[in-house]
């Protein structure tokens, strides 16, 4: 539990929030949904910067992109009519597996991405949709790919303001293996493909809870190009994931167990995609 907090700020603008952080980064933390912050057992944190007054909690459409405010809760996001219209059941179903109803009412999309959690179902699904981020740092606003955000050096911690998802006609599916319904993933897999005349024109294959943060597997993606979407496609996906999976062991699972599970989850996701495309 936090025990040494002396100041609690509610900035009204992104610039103000970032300045407050820069003023004393070592002793400060942003709070969005607060589900991680409230559980921190740290006496280092003396200043909390609550992002909820930034009014970044809506989902909107700009030309061919969906723009999601970083403090939008997971539950509001998955049930947003715009998300359902543009992405069907993908986010609605996938994010129903995030924690419990209470957790989803609190945890936000930005707060799920920012700490680069290995198990985040939110990050895995967004990576598979090729999502980008609008972030604010010392040089102002810039747009980066979510995959590049994960690769930022540890000391570089911009404020995420928006998540941007293209509506580009890709078809996506998600599978998660966990011990109980709302436990974190032992392994999760998200796959998106761009189908064209019954074949995969391009693919994004993401494995998460490896246990490191979710990652795209380009070797697999390249191997899937031009593959026919037929009954054998899911078992090919399974073999490719089994042969190319990289990750490690932790208390949830050994590397070998994870690799096996990841290949099975990938096959299941590919089955779903096959049904959707047909």
């Amino acid at each position: 539990m936090l025990s040494n907090v002396k100041e609690y700020f509610r900035p009204k603008t992104v610039e103000e929030a970032f300045e407050m952080m820069e003023a004393d980064r070592e002793h400060s933390i942003f709070l969005s949904g607060g589900t991680i912050v409230a559980l921190m057992g740290s006496s280092r944190i003396e200043r909390i910067i609550d992002l909820k007054s930034l009014r970044l909690d809506s989902v909107s459409i700009k030309e061919d992109e969906i723009v999601v405010g970083a403090t939008t809760t997971v539950e509001a996001f998955r049930k947003d009519p715009l998300m359902r219209k543009e992405f069907g059941d993908f986010f609605y179903d996938s994010f129903s597996l995030v924690g419990s109803w209470q957790i989803r009412n609190m945890a936000t999309i930005g707060g799920s991405i920012a700490p680069k959690l290995g198990w985040s179902d939110v990050s895995a699904c967004l990576l598979a949709t090729g999502a980008g981020l609008m972030v604010y740092g010392p040089d102002g606003y810039r747009r980066i790919m979510l995959s590049d955000y994960f690769a930022l050096p540890a000391g570089e911690k911009p404020l995420i303001t928006h998540i941007i998802i293209k509506k580009d006609g890709w078809v996506s599916a998600f599978e998660k293996f966990s011990k109980t319904t709302f436990d974190i993933a032992t392994v999760n897999v998200a796959i998106s493909v761009r189908p064209e005349r019954g074949r995969i024109k391009a693919a994004r294959v993401v494995c998460g809870s490896r246990p490191q943060y979710p990652m795209r597997f380009e070797t697999i993606e390249n191997a899937l190009e031009e593959l026919e979407i037929n009954d054998v496609m899911p078992s090919i996906v399974r073999s490719l994931v089994f042969d190319n999976f990289t990750g490690g062991s932790n208390m949830l699972a050994s590397f070998e167990y994870r690799k096996h599970l990841a290949s099975v989850m990938a096959q299941k996701a590919a089955e779903k995609i096959k049904e959707m495309v047909r």
């Binding site: 709070l31 589900t35 209470q102």
Partner: protein, 157 residues
């Protein structure tokens, strides 16, 4: 720091600790001990309260977060000494054994019924998915929520 908020319909304006959990604040400062602590980390739902209409785990909320907002706890369910239909149905259907999960269950159920007067069993189960019960096996809890929904629809509130 000073914050303004509402709990169970009553307005408060109080000095609070910046790092105190809402759960502890309710129990220790406001003496509303109906809200329980099971796990203290978002896993069991015993601490569920409703903030601005949404069911949340009060063990994961810091008190300053409720500034300007409205909280309902299990103590806010009864009206003029009369139990809420959900409380009545939990008793009538045998949905309470040791009772430790009950306050949290009731608050998740209330948040559900406030937004959905006629939920399916699947919707009921989704609403209480974050509330663990070690005693009842859940069946009677689902029955009780369905029963209370019927009472509320028929105006027996």
């Amino acid at each position: 720091m000073k914050i303004d908020f509402k709990v169970n319909g009553r307005d408060y304006s109080l000095e609070v600790r910046e790092d105190m959990r809402l759960l502890d604040f309710l129990r220790e400062e406001l003496k509303l001990t109906g809200t329980k602590e099971g796990c203290g980390e978002g896993e069991c739902g015993a601490c569920t309260v409703i903030i601005d209409g949404k069911a949340v785990n009060s063990c994961l909320v810091l008190v300053p977060e409720i500034d300007g907002r409205e909280v309902i706890t299990v103590e806010g369910l009864e009206r003029d000494g009369r139990l809420h239909p959900l409380q009545e149905s939990f008793i009538e259907k045998g949905a309470v054994q040791c009772g430790f999960c009950t306050p949290g269950m009731l608050m998740s159920a209330k948040a559900l019924l406030d937004g959905n007067a006629d939920p399916s069993d699947e919707e009921i189960m989704e609403a209480i998915e974050g509330n663990l019960c070690r005693c009842t096996g859940y069946y009677k809890i689902v029955q009780a929520i369905r029963d209370a929904a019927g009472k509320l629809r028929n105006g027996k509130a």
